[in-house]
Amino acid sequence: MAIEITRPGKYSLIVSTPVMPAAGTLGFADSYKGLIDYDKLGALVTNPVTIEPWNPASGTRLIPLDSGILLHTGLPNPGLSKVIGRNRKVWARLPIPVILHLVATSVDQVAQAGRMLDDVDEVAAVELGLRDDIERDEAVALVAAAAKMEKPLLARLPFYECYDLAHSLAEAGADALVLSAAPRGTARDSHSGRLVSGRIYGPLIKPLALRMVGRLRREIPKEIPIIGCGGIHSPADARDYIDAGAVAVQVDTATWAQPKMLERIARDLGGWIATRHKDAFLDEWNPDMGQTEALERRAAPGANRKR
């Protein structure tokens, strides 16, 4: 497969599988080595990066919810030049393109980051992260500054601002829209007893973001690809986004709960449909299968069929 996930033109990003991790879930490079087969993915989206180093959030960072979590990490990162320096060798070795997630701080910083990144061949494209509650003018200025880069630019929209921003950011030069960042919410930390705010992840986010993708796909010019993101937890979830008009998807926290789920979704949408129990080869029927079960099945080769 060859899927163009950014606006056609001189610089555009082509992936071989329309599935990638969402920024912040897979680390800066190959943290999931041994757990996920990277060459089954369409691309690596890095953790968010800022020009200056950012510290981790203080206070509660994680609250478990019913079928979900609240997370507030503070987007810790050592700053753009260190992130490039420490990871470019691994990026070069990865079998898939790298999309660097750049946090949109100020127009100057975004422009500066763009100049730096144009010299980094290991980065194939940039995804710009916009803060929640951003005003449209500021968002447009940030995207326009980033669009001066030669590399393709994906813009990841804040959840509640999707309808408001989508048109303007496509016009300002975004080569693809990622819909959307996880919505912010508030929950109580049972240990401290305090209300804490952060991003909300879980399968119930999917119907909300899927509707946005479906509606905006009908409203936004056809040449701007939409990448669906939010609450994807299964191949069927991912296919729903494709059906609603997304050209590709980003899988977020499902990967933490079940790392092979990201690969399974990628295999499915990439055409390597995961075969089922029956009559499948040992190494492909289920990518999660560990040695325990493999040995068991080898010991009793008929057992599998009876199930």
Binding site: Y32, P64, D66, T73, H191, W256, T292, E293
Partner: protein, 252 residues
Amino acid sequence: MRESQAYIERITRVNRNYQRLDLAVDSSLSSLRAGQALLARRIEKDYESERWDPYLRELWFPVEVLASNIVVIEQPARSNFTPGQLLSIIGPVGKPFRFRQKLRNILLIACDSTPAPLLMMLAPLLKRQVSITLVLMGSAREYETSHLPGEIEVIQANDDLTWSDMVMTLGWADQVFAAVGPGDELAQLGDIMRVMRERRNDVPANYILGVLQRQLPCGVGACHACMLSLRGARKLQCVDGPAFDLTTLRLN
């Protein structure tokens, strides 16, 4: 680090409040050492009925590794497990504990926490003739120890985290491991550290190690939600932990 399947082979009640699960694990986990943990998630055989509640994996510190790929986990008796339950395991998570070379006497502390992360070292240390003292603080005082080896001295701390003979115990110990959590672990470790410093004014590097058990979103160094600030460095609980030198860890 890899993902593998395991299943619960046997469940034994060890005392009024705790049960032990014997997990039949992948052979890659049989070299697990004290300090290392597993990220576990219940799964179904057919993989078609993925449930997302609870959402994240549970962090399990094995308390023993038996021969033939059996890893033992200690869980509250009220947790609802069934023999034959299939699990997906990510591990080993974290680095093994590093003990002083000439370790003779070790002090273990469980504060508002199950001592589970400290139990896997018991058998090997006893074999090396190390004397072990286990101090139970706060709600850990409710933990029943009758199933632990008889050689271990168990002490119930007072409400202020002290105990009689504390100065002596601290002078005698070559190394201290303190398991805390859940809750505000860094504050708990800060309290323990304060009480220690009042009793022993020279606390050398790597003398007192805090053992963290906070829930880990990814467990592999990707999400950075478990990041800690140490003197002059940032570390990840999942990759660099679970034990951190309390003289360098920035406590709240």
